[in-house]
Symmetry: none
DNA sequence: CGATGGTATGACAGAATTGTGACAGTAGCA
DNA sequence: TGCTACTGTCACAATTCTGTCATACCATCG
Protein backbone atom coordinates (compact mmCIF):
# COMPACT_ATOMS: atom_id res chain seq x y z
CA UNK A 1 0.00 0.00 0.00
CA UNK A 2 2.79 2.40 0.80
CA UNK A 3 4.10 3.53 -2.52
CA UNK A 4 7.77 4.21 -3.08
CA UNK A 5 8.34 7.53 -4.74
CA UNK A 6 11.69 8.29 -6.30
CA UNK A 7 12.45 11.99 -6.14
CA UNK A 8 15.03 13.13 -8.67
CA UNK A 9 15.96 16.69 -7.81
CA UNK A 10 19.35 18.35 -7.50
CA UNK A 11 18.41 21.24 -5.26
CA UNK A 12 18.68 20.04 -1.70
CA UNK A 13 16.10 22.47 -0.36
CA UNK A 14 13.43 21.36 -2.78
CA UNK A 15 14.42 17.73 -2.32
CA UNK A 16 13.85 18.12 1.38
CA UNK A 17 10.52 19.83 0.91
CA UNK A 18 9.34 17.11 -1.41
CA UNK A 19 10.51 14.33 0.85
CA UNK A 20 8.73 15.95 3.76
CA UNK A 21 5.42 16.21 1.95
CA UNK A 22 5.65 12.74 0.52
CA UNK A 23 6.42 11.19 3.88
CA UNK A 24 3.65 13.22 5.44
CA UNK A 25 1.17 11.61 3.08
CA UNK A 26 2.26 8.14 4.03
CA UNK A 27 4.42 7.38 1.04
CA UNK A 28 8.10 6.56 1.13
CA UNK A 29 10.50 9.03 -0.48
CA UNK A 30 13.68 7.79 -2.12
CA UNK A 31 16.11 10.56 -2.93
CA UNK A 32 18.30 10.98 -5.97
CA UNK A 33 20.23 14.05 -7.02
CA UNK A 34 20.93 13.31 -10.65
CA UNK A 35 19.97 11.01 -13.49
CA UNK A 36 22.73 8.53 -12.75
CA UNK A 37 21.83 8.26 -9.11
CA UNK A 38 18.22 7.81 -10.09
CA UNK A 39 19.13 5.08 -12.53
CA UNK A 40 21.09 3.26 -9.87
CA UNK A 41 18.16 3.39 -7.51
CA UNK A 42 15.81 2.20 -10.21
CA UNK A 43 17.98 -0.78 -11.01
CA UNK A 44 18.07 -1.62 -7.35
CA UNK A 45 14.35 -1.35 -6.79
CA UNK A 46 11.53 -0.25 -9.05
CA UNK A 47 9.71 2.72 -7.55
CA UNK A 48 5.97 3.14 -7.89
CA UNK A 49 6.29 6.67 -9.16
CA UNK A 50 9.05 9.03 -10.18
CA UNK A 51 9.05 12.72 -9.42
CA UNK A 52 11.49 14.12 -11.92
CA UNK A 53 13.07 17.54 -12.13
CA UNK A 54 13.27 19.01 -15.58
CA UNK A 55 16.67 20.52 -15.11
CA UNK A 56 19.31 18.16 -13.84
CA UNK A 57 23.12 18.22 -13.89
CA UNK A 58 24.49 15.98 -16.60
CA UNK A 59 21.66 14.56 -18.62
CA UNK A 60 18.37 16.38 -18.32
CA UNK A 61 15.16 15.09 -16.82
CA UNK A 62 13.58 14.70 -20.22
CA UNK A 63 16.45 12.52 -21.26
CA UNK A 64 15.99 10.32 -18.22
CA UNK A 65 12.29 10.11 -18.91
CA UNK A 66 12.98 8.97 -22.46
CA UNK A 67 15.41 6.40 -21.17
CA UNK A 68 12.83 5.12 -18.72
CA UNK A 69 10.26 4.81 -21.44
CA UNK A 70 12.66 3.03 -23.75
CA UNK A 71 13.40 0.35 -21.20
CA UNK A 72 10.92 -2.46 -21.05
CA UNK A 73 11.27 -2.90 -17.32
CA UNK A 74 10.72 0.73 -16.45
CA UNK A 75 8.24 1.58 -19.19
CA UNK A 76 5.20 1.57 -16.98
CA UNK A 77 6.47 3.58 -14.05
CA UNK A 78 4.47 6.78 -13.91
CA UNK A 79 6.44 10.01 -14.07
CA UNK A 80 5.57 13.47 -12.84
CA UNK A 81 7.73 16.22 -14.28
CA UNK A 82 8.85 19.04 -12.07
CA UNK A 83 9.77 22.21 -13.88
CA UNK A 84 10.53 25.82 -13.10
CA UNK A 85 9.62 26.89 -16.58
CA UNK A 86 6.21 28.26 -17.11
CA UNK A 87 6.51 27.99 -20.85
CA UNK A 88 3.63 25.92 -22.09
CA UNK A 89 5.77 24.51 -24.82
CA UNK A 90 8.15 22.89 -22.38
CA UNK A 91 5.23 21.31 -20.61
CA UNK A 92 4.12 19.68 -23.80
CA UNK A 93 7.62 18.43 -24.52
CA UNK A 94 7.65 16.95 -21.07
CA UNK A 95 4.43 15.12 -21.75
CA UNK A 96 5.64 13.92 -25.10
CA UNK A 97 8.77 12.51 -23.55
CA UNK A 98 6.52 10.19 -21.63
CA UNK A 99 5.68 12.04 -18.42
CA UNK A 100 2.21 11.38 -17.06
CA UNK A 101 1.82 14.81 -15.57
CA UNK A 102 3.84 17.90 -14.87
CA UNK A 103 3.87 20.57 -12.24
CA UNK A 104 5.59 23.94 -12.30
CA UNK A 105 7.60 25.41 -9.46
CA UNK A 106 6.66 27.05 -7.28
CA UNK A 107 3.95 24.53 -6.50
CA UNK A 108 1.64 24.07 -3.56
CA UNK A 109 2.27 20.90 -1.57
CA UNK A 110 -1.43 20.22 -1.76
CA UNK A 111 -1.48 20.30 -5.52
CA UNK A 112 1.61 18.16 -5.73
CA UNK A 113 0.16 15.49 -3.48
CA UNK A 114 -3.11 15.64 -5.34
CA UNK A 115 -1.27 14.92 -8.57
CA UNK A 116 0.73 12.13 -7.02
CA UNK A 117 -2.42 10.52 -5.72
CA UNK A 118 -4.14 10.99 -9.06
CA UNK A 119 -1.30 9.37 -10.97
CA UNK A 120 -0.98 6.49 -8.54
CA UNK A 121 -4.70 5.98 -8.69
CA UNK A 122 -4.70 5.79 -12.47
CA UNK A 123 -1.88 3.29 -12.47
CA UNK A 124 -3.18 1.29 -9.56
CA UNK A 125 -3.56 -2.35 -10.51
CA UNK A 126 -7.16 -3.22 -11.21
CA UNK A 127 -8.16 -5.58 -8.47
CA UNK A 128 -10.62 -8.24 -9.32
CA UNK A 129 -13.73 -6.22 -10.04
CA UNK A 130 -15.49 -9.23 -11.39
CA UNK A 131 -18.72 -10.32 -9.82
CA UNK A 132 -18.28 -13.51 -7.84
CA UNK A 133 -21.00 -16.12 -7.65
CA UNK A 134 -20.83 -18.85 -5.02
CA UNK A 135 -23.11 -20.69 -2.70
CA UNK A 136 -26.16 -18.91 -4.05
CA UNK A 137 -24.67 -15.52 -3.28
CA UNK A 138 -23.62 -12.95 -5.80
CA UNK A 139 -20.95 -10.52 -4.71
CA UNK A 140 -20.26 -7.46 -6.81
CA UNK A 141 -17.12 -5.48 -6.00
CA UNK A 142 -18.13 -2.55 -8.19
CA UNK A 143 -21.49 -2.21 -6.52
CA UNK A 144 -19.99 -3.19 -3.20
CA UNK A 145 -23.01 -5.31 -2.53
CA UNK A 146 -24.19 -8.84 -2.05
CA UNK A 147 -27.20 -10.19 -3.85
CA UNK A 148 -28.85 -12.96 -1.85
CA UNK A 149 -31.75 -14.21 -3.94
CA UNK A 150 -32.77 -10.70 -4.83
CA UNK A 151 -32.20 -9.31 -1.37
CA UNK A 152 -29.38 -6.82 -1.24
CA UNK A 153 -26.98 -7.09 1.65
CA UNK A 154 -24.59 -4.35 2.66
CA UNK A 155 -21.46 -5.18 4.61
CA UNK A 156 -18.77 -3.20 6.37
CA UNK A 157 -15.34 -3.02 4.72
CA UNK A 158 -13.74 -5.91 6.58
CA UNK A 159 -16.72 -8.25 6.39
CA UNK A 160 -16.97 -7.48 2.70
CA UNK A 161 -13.35 -8.37 2.06
CA UNK A 162 -13.73 -11.47 4.19
CA UNK A 163 -16.73 -12.72 2.27
CA UNK A 164 -15.07 -11.84 -1.00
CA UNK A 165 -12.10 -13.96 -0.06
CA UNK A 166 -14.28 -16.85 1.01
CA UNK A 167 -16.33 -16.75 -2.16
CA UNK A 168 -13.26 -16.75 -4.34
CA UNK A 169 -11.77 -19.61 -2.32
CA UNK A 170 -14.67 -21.89 -1.48
CA UNK A 171 -14.66 -25.40 -0.09
CA UNK A 172 -11.35 -24.96 1.60
CA UNK A 173 -10.42 -24.51 5.24
CA UNK A 174 -8.41 -21.48 6.21
CA UNK A 175 -6.75 -20.96 9.54
CA UNK A 176 -7.18 -17.71 11.40
CA UNK A 177 -3.68 -16.60 10.59
CA UNK A 178 -4.17 -17.41 6.91
CA UNK A 179 -7.32 -15.34 6.90
CA UNK A 180 -5.49 -12.52 8.60
CA UNK A 181 -2.84 -12.61 5.89
CA UNK A 182 -5.29 -12.70 3.02
CA UNK A 183 -8.00 -10.40 4.25
CA UNK A 184 -6.21 -8.04 6.61
CA UNK A 185 -2.78 -8.08 4.99
CA UNK A 186 0.54 -9.68 5.75
CA UNK A 187 1.89 -6.79 7.74
CA UNK A 188 -0.88 -6.05 10.18
CA UNK A 189 -0.80 -7.46 13.65
CA UNK A 190 -4.09 -8.27 15.27
CA UNK A 191 -5.18 -11.01 17.56
CA UNK A 192 -6.28 -14.22 15.90
CA UNK A 193 -9.47 -14.14 17.92
CA UNK A 194 -10.43 -11.01 16.01
CA UNK A 195 -11.18 -13.26 13.08
CA UNK A 196 -13.84 -15.01 15.16
CA UNK A 197 -15.55 -11.74 15.80
CA UNK A 198 -15.66 -10.79 12.16
CA UNK A 199 -16.89 -14.24 11.24
CA UNK A 200 -19.73 -13.74 13.64
CA UNK A 201 -20.52 -10.33 12.21
CA UNK A 202 -20.52 -11.76 8.73
CA UNK A 203 -22.82 -14.60 9.74
CA UNK A 204 -25.07 -12.11 11.45
CA UNK A 205 -25.38 -10.10 8.26
CA UNK A 206 -26.14 -13.22 6.24
CA UNK A 207 -28.57 -14.64 8.78
CA UNK A 208 -31.74 -12.86 7.62
CA UNK A 209 -31.33 -14.56 4.25
CA UNK A 210 -30.41 -17.87 5.89
CA UNK A 211 -27.07 -17.83 4.17
CA UNK A 212 -25.15 -17.82 7.42
CA UNK A 213 -24.66 -21.58 7.29
CA UNK A 214 -22.37 -21.10 4.31
CA UNK A 215 -19.61 -20.20 6.69
CA UNK A 216 -18.65 -23.26 8.64
CA UNK A 217 -16.45 -23.66 11.64
CA UNK A 218 -13.83 -26.37 11.45
CA UNK A 219 -12.91 -27.00 15.01
CA UNK A 220 -9.19 -26.80 15.60
CA UNK A 221 -8.47 -25.66 12.04
CA UNK A 222 -10.33 -22.55 11.07
CA UNK A 223 -13.25 -21.69 8.80
CA UNK A 224 -14.58 -22.77 5.46
CA UNK A 225 -17.01 -21.35 2.94
CA UNK A 226 -19.03 -24.20 1.59
CA UNK A 227 -22.38 -24.73 -0.06
CA UNK A 228 -22.88 -28.17 1.41
CA UNK B 1 -14.91 10.47 -28.04
CA UNK B 2 -13.92 11.78 -31.44
CA UNK B 3 -13.38 15.44 -30.88
CA UNK B 4 -14.42 18.05 -33.40
CA UNK B 5 -11.63 20.45 -34.15
CA UNK B 6 -12.40 23.69 -35.92
CA UNK B 7 -9.46 24.83 -38.03
CA UNK B 8 -9.52 28.52 -38.85
CA UNK B 9 -6.84 29.15 -41.45
CA UNK B 10 -6.90 31.09 -44.68
CA UNK B 11 -4.03 29.42 -46.48
CA UNK B 12 -5.41 26.39 -48.24
CA UNK B 13 -2.14 24.46 -48.17
CA UNK B 14 -1.77 24.73 -44.42
CA UNK B 15 -5.45 24.06 -43.95
CA UNK B 16 -5.08 20.85 -45.87
CA UNK B 17 -2.00 19.81 -43.91
CA UNK B 18 -3.72 20.45 -40.62
CA UNK B 19 -6.84 18.62 -41.66
CA UNK B 20 -4.78 15.65 -42.75
CA UNK B 21 -2.93 15.38 -39.46
CA UNK B 22 -6.03 15.88 -37.40
CA UNK B 23 -7.96 13.24 -39.28
CA UNK B 24 -4.98 10.94 -39.06
CA UNK B 25 -5.16 11.16 -35.28
CA UNK B 26 -8.79 10.16 -35.21
CA UNK B 27 -10.32 13.59 -34.70
CA UNK B 28 -12.73 15.34 -37.02
CA UNK B 29 -11.53 18.50 -38.76
CA UNK B 30 -13.99 21.26 -39.55
CA UNK B 31 -12.60 23.87 -41.93
CA UNK B 32 -13.08 27.62 -41.87
CA UNK B 33 -11.18 30.23 -43.85
CA UNK B 34 -11.98 33.37 -41.93
CA UNK B 35 -13.44 34.63 -38.67
CA UNK B 36 -16.94 34.95 -40.07
CA UNK B 37 -16.93 31.46 -41.46
CA UNK B 38 -15.65 30.20 -38.13
CA UNK B 39 -18.37 32.03 -36.24
CA UNK B 40 -21.02 30.52 -38.46
CA UNK B 41 -19.69 27.05 -37.82
CA UNK B 42 -19.52 27.68 -34.11
CA UNK B 43 -23.12 28.82 -33.99
CA UNK B 44 -24.12 25.72 -35.84
CA UNK B 45 -22.19 23.31 -33.65
CA UNK B 46 -19.78 23.86 -30.78
CA UNK B 47 -16.39 22.36 -31.58
CA UNK B 48 -14.29 20.70 -28.89
CA UNK B 49 -11.22 22.72 -29.78
CA UNK B 50 -10.34 25.59 -32.09
CA UNK B 51 -7.10 25.81 -34.01
CA UNK B 52 -6.86 29.47 -34.83
CA UNK B 53 -4.57 31.29 -37.20
CA UNK B 54 -3.22 34.53 -35.86
CA UNK B 55 -3.42 36.36 -39.15
CA UNK B 56 -6.77 36.19 -40.84
CA UNK B 57 -8.38 38.29 -43.55
CA UNK B 58 -10.89 40.72 -42.08
CA UNK B 59 -10.79 40.47 -38.32
CA UNK B 60 -7.69 38.86 -36.84
CA UNK B 61 -7.49 35.64 -34.92
CA UNK B 62 -6.92 37.45 -31.66
CA UNK B 63 -10.11 39.35 -32.19
CA UNK B 64 -12.03 36.12 -32.78
CA UNK B 65 -10.48 34.62 -29.67
CA UNK B 66 -11.67 37.60 -27.61
CA UNK B 67 -15.13 37.27 -29.05
CA UNK B 68 -15.18 33.59 -28.16
CA UNK B 69 -14.10 34.29 -24.62
CA UNK B 70 -16.66 37.06 -24.18
CA UNK B 71 -19.53 34.77 -25.10
CA UNK B 72 -20.85 32.54 -22.34
CA UNK B 73 -21.62 29.69 -24.65
CA UNK B 74 -18.19 29.55 -26.23
CA UNK B 75 -16.14 30.56 -23.24
CA UNK B 76 -14.86 27.14 -22.40
CA UNK B 77 -13.81 25.98 -25.83
CA UNK B 78 -10.03 25.54 -25.76
CA UNK B 79 -8.10 27.53 -28.36
CA UNK B 80 -4.69 26.88 -29.83
CA UNK B 81 -3.17 29.87 -31.60
CA UNK B 82 -1.27 29.34 -34.81
CA UNK B 83 1.22 32.04 -35.63
CA UNK B 84 4.19 32.74 -37.84
CA UNK B 85 5.53 35.37 -35.48
CA UNK B 86 8.11 34.34 -32.96
CA UNK B 87 7.96 37.66 -31.16
CA UNK B 88 7.53 37.02 -27.43
CA UNK B 89 5.18 39.99 -27.14
CA UNK B 90 2.83 38.46 -29.63
CA UNK B 91 2.85 35.20 -27.76
CA UNK B 92 1.77 36.97 -24.67
CA UNK B 93 -0.92 38.80 -26.56
CA UNK B 94 -2.14 35.52 -27.94
CA UNK B 95 -2.35 33.95 -24.54
CA UNK B 96 -3.93 37.01 -22.96
CA UNK B 97 -6.62 37.02 -25.59
CA UNK B 98 -7.69 33.72 -24.12
CA UNK B 99 -5.78 31.13 -26.10
CA UNK B 100 -4.90 28.00 -24.17
CA UNK B 101 -1.74 27.42 -26.14
CA UNK B 102 0.07 28.67 -29.21
CA UNK B 103 2.36 27.19 -31.76
CA UNK B 104 4.64 28.94 -34.22
CA UNK B 105 4.94 28.11 -37.89
CA UNK B 106 6.68 26.17 -39.11
CA UNK B 107 5.65 23.44 -36.72
CA UNK B 108 6.10 19.73 -36.73
CA UNK B 109 2.87 17.77 -37.04
CA UNK B 110 4.02 15.69 -34.10
CA UNK B 111 4.32 18.71 -31.85
CA UNK B 112 1.00 20.09 -33.01
CA UNK B 113 -0.80 16.86 -32.26
CA UNK B 114 0.90 16.65 -28.90
CA UNK B 115 -0.50 20.04 -28.01
CA UNK B 116 -3.93 19.16 -29.27
CA UNK B 117 -3.99 16.01 -27.20
CA UNK B 118 -2.71 17.86 -24.15
CA UNK B 119 -5.34 20.59 -24.43
CA UNK B 120 -8.13 18.09 -25.00
CA UNK B 121 -6.90 16.11 -22.04
CA UNK B 122 -7.20 19.13 -19.81
CA UNK B 123 -10.71 19.85 -20.95
CA UNK B 124 -13.47 19.18 -18.49
CA UNK B 125 -15.69 16.29 -19.51
CA UNK B 126 -18.80 17.21 -21.45
CA UNK B 127 -22.16 15.76 -20.71
CA UNK B 128 -24.54 14.53 -23.32
CA UNK B 129 -27.85 16.28 -23.93
CA UNK B 130 -30.05 13.27 -23.58
CA UNK B 131 -32.68 13.19 -20.87
CA UNK B 132 -31.82 10.62 -18.23
CA UNK B 133 -34.38 8.67 -16.23
CA UNK B 134 -33.31 6.74 -13.15
CA UNK B 135 -34.56 6.01 -9.69
CA UNK B 136 -37.82 7.84 -10.34
CA UNK B 137 -36.03 11.01 -11.31
CA UNK B 138 -35.96 12.60 -14.71
CA UNK B 139 -33.00 14.80 -15.53
CA UNK B 140 -32.98 16.97 -18.59
CA UNK B 141 -29.59 18.47 -19.44
CA UNK B 142 -31.00 20.82 -22.06
CA UNK B 143 -33.48 22.32 -19.65
CA UNK B 144 -31.11 21.94 -16.73
CA UNK B 145 -33.91 20.55 -14.67
CA UNK B 146 -34.89 17.64 -12.52
CA UNK B 147 -38.39 16.27 -12.52
CA UNK B 148 -39.21 14.40 -9.32
CA UNK B 149 -42.73 13.07 -9.70
CA UNK B 150 -43.91 16.33 -11.18
CA UNK B 151 -42.00 18.45 -8.71
CA UNK B 152 -39.25 20.49 -10.30
CA UNK B 153 -35.94 20.63 -8.52
CA UNK B 154 -33.29 23.21 -9.18
CA UNK B 155 -29.65 22.41 -8.62
CA UNK B 156 -26.40 24.33 -8.80
CA UNK B 157 -24.03 23.48 -11.64
CA UNK B 158 -21.86 21.08 -9.68
CA UNK B 159 -24.73 19.28 -7.99
CA UNK B 160 -26.37 18.96 -11.37
CA UNK B 161 -23.33 17.39 -12.97
CA UNK B 162 -22.94 15.14 -9.95
CA UNK B 163 -26.51 13.89 -10.13
CA UNK B 164 -26.21 13.51 -13.88
CA UNK B 165 -23.18 11.32 -13.45
CA UNK B 166 -24.86 9.25 -10.79
CA UNK B 167 -27.99 8.77 -12.86
CA UNK B 168 -26.01 7.67 -15.87
CA UNK B 169 -23.95 5.30 -13.71
CA UNK B 170 -26.39 3.86 -11.18
CA UNK B 171 -25.91 0.98 -8.76
CA UNK B 172 -22.17 1.31 -8.80
CA UNK B 173 -19.95 2.63 -6.04
CA UNK B 174 -17.61 5.47 -6.90
CA UNK B 175 -14.78 6.64 -4.71
CA UNK B 176 -14.33 10.32 -4.01
CA UNK B 177 -11.35 10.33 -6.34
CA UNK B 178 -13.32 8.80 -9.15
CA UNK B 179 -16.12 11.29 -8.67
CA UNK B 180 -13.63 14.14 -8.77
CA UNK B 181 -12.24 12.79 -12.02
CA UNK B 182 -15.62 12.26 -13.63
CA UNK B 183 -17.58 15.23 -12.36
CA UNK B 184 -14.94 17.87 -11.75
CA UNK B 185 -12.41 16.75 -14.36
CA UNK B 186 -9.02 15.08 -14.27
CA UNK B 187 -7.08 18.30 -14.06
CA UNK B 188 -8.94 19.89 -11.19
CA UNK B 189 -7.35 19.69 -7.80
CA UNK B 190 -9.70 19.92 -4.89
CA UNK B 191 -9.86 18.13 -1.59
CA UNK B 192 -11.57 14.77 -1.62
CA UNK B 193 -13.80 15.83 1.23
CA UNK B 194 -15.28 18.47 -1.03
CA UNK B 195 -17.20 15.62 -2.61
CA UNK B 196 -18.88 14.98 0.74
CA UNK B 197 -20.08 18.53 0.90
CA UNK B 198 -21.59 18.40 -2.56
CA UNK B 199 -23.18 15.06 -1.78
CA UNK B 200 -24.82 16.68 1.21
CA UNK B 201 -26.00 19.63 -0.88
CA UNK B 202 -27.42 17.26 -3.44
CA UNK B 203 -29.20 15.20 -0.79
CA UNK B 204 -30.52 18.38 0.74
CA UNK B 205 -32.00 19.41 -2.56
CA UNK B 206 -33.57 15.99 -3.08
CA UNK B 207 -34.87 15.71 0.46
CA UNK B 208 -38.20 17.54 0.05
CA UNK B 209 -39.18 14.93 -2.52
CA UNK B 210 -37.80 12.10 -0.39
CA UNK B 211 -35.39 11.18 -3.14
CA UNK B 212 -32.36 11.80 -0.97
CA UNK B 213 -32.09 8.12 -0.06
CA UNK B 214 -31.14 7.41 -3.65
CA UNK B 215 -27.64 8.53 -2.84
CA UNK B 216 -26.10 6.05 -0.48
CA UNK B 217 -22.91 6.21 1.49
CA UNK B 218 -20.69 3.16 1.25
CA UNK B 219 -18.43 3.57 4.19
CA UNK B 220 -14.81 3.19 3.28
CA UNK B 221 -15.52 3.12 -0.44
CA UNK B 222 -17.50 6.09 -1.62
CA UNK B 223 -21.04 6.77 -2.79
CA UNK B 224 -23.63 5.00 -4.84
CA UNK B 225 -26.81 5.97 -6.65
CA UNK B 226 -29.27 3.19 -6.21
CA UNK B 227 -33.02 2.75 -6.15
CA UNK B 228 -32.96 -0.03 -3.60
C1' DC C 1 -19.44 -37.11 34.34
C1' DG C 2 -16.22 -33.45 34.87
C1' DA C 3 -12.25 -31.46 32.86
C1' DT C 4 -10.23 -29.12 29.01
C1' DG C 5 -9.35 -26.66 25.01
C1' DG C 6 -11.55 -24.31 21.46
C1' DT C 7 -15.45 -21.19 19.74
C1' DA C 8 -19.55 -17.91 19.99
C1' DT C 9 -21.35 -13.72 21.78
C1' DG C 10 -22.22 -9.26 23.92
C1' DA C 11 -20.13 -5.21 25.47
C1' DC C 12 -16.90 -1.42 24.94
C1' DA C 13 -13.62 2.16 24.12
C1' DG C 14 -10.87 4.11 20.78
C1' DA C 15 -10.13 4.80 15.89
C1' DA C 16 -11.67 5.95 11.54
C1' DT C 17 -14.97 7.78 8.54
C1' DT C 18 -18.69 10.71 7.26
C1' DG C 19 -22.23 14.51 8.09
C1' DT C 20 -22.97 19.45 8.89
C1' DG C 21 -22.94 24.37 9.57
C1' DA C 22 -20.26 28.29 8.84
C1' DC C 23 -17.29 31.22 6.09
C1' DA C 24 -14.56 33.63 2.83
C1' DG C 25 -13.36 34.09 -1.87
C1' DT C 26 -15.21 34.07 -6.76
C1' DA C 27 -17.82 34.14 -10.59
C1' DG C 28 -21.91 35.29 -12.86
C1' DC C 29 -25.39 38.74 -13.59
C1' DA C 30 -28.11 42.84 -13.89
C1' DT D 1 -20.80 48.63 -9.76
C1' DG D 2 -23.20 46.04 -6.39
C1' DC D 3 -25.67 41.79 -5.55
C1' DT D 4 -26.53 37.00 -5.56
C1' DA D 5 -25.34 32.35 -6.06
C1' DC D 6 -21.84 28.92 -6.05
C1' DT D 7 -17.47 26.72 -4.46
C1' DG D 8 -14.02 24.78 -1.78
C1' DT D 9 -12.37 24.33 3.08
C1' DC D 10 -12.55 23.94 7.90
C1' DA D 11 -13.63 22.65 12.43
C1' DC D 12 -16.53 20.04 15.00
C1' DA D 13 -20.41 16.74 15.64
C1' DA D 14 -22.33 12.31 14.66
C1' DT D 15 -21.90 7.85 13.16
C1' DT D 16 -19.90 3.48 12.12
C1' DC D 17 -16.19 0.21 12.37
C1' DT D 18 -12.45 -2.38 14.78
C1' DG D 19 -9.93 -4.93 17.81
C1' DT D 20 -10.12 -6.81 22.57
C1' DC D 21 -12.07 -8.69 26.58
C1' DA D 22 -14.68 -11.35 29.64
C1' DT D 23 -17.98 -14.62 29.70
C1' DA D 24 -21.03 -18.18 27.99
C1' DC D 25 -21.18 -22.27 25.21
C1' DC D 26 -19.86 -26.68 23.22
C1' DA D 27 -17.43 -30.83 21.63
C1' DT D 28 -14.14 -34.17 22.93
C1' DC D 29 -11.66 -37.06 25.88
C1' DG D 30 -9.94 -39.24 30.16
Amino acid sequence: MTANILVVEDEAAIQELLAFNITQCGYRAIEAYDADGAWTHINHELPDLILLDWMLPGSSGVELARRLRANQRTRNIPIIMLTARTDERDKILGLESGADDYITKPFSPRELMARIRAVLRRRAPQMSDETVVAGGLELSPTMHRINANGVMIDLGPTEFRLLHFFMTHPERVYSRSQLLDHVWGDHVFVEERTVDVHIRRLRQALEPSSFDSLIQTVRGSGYRFSSS
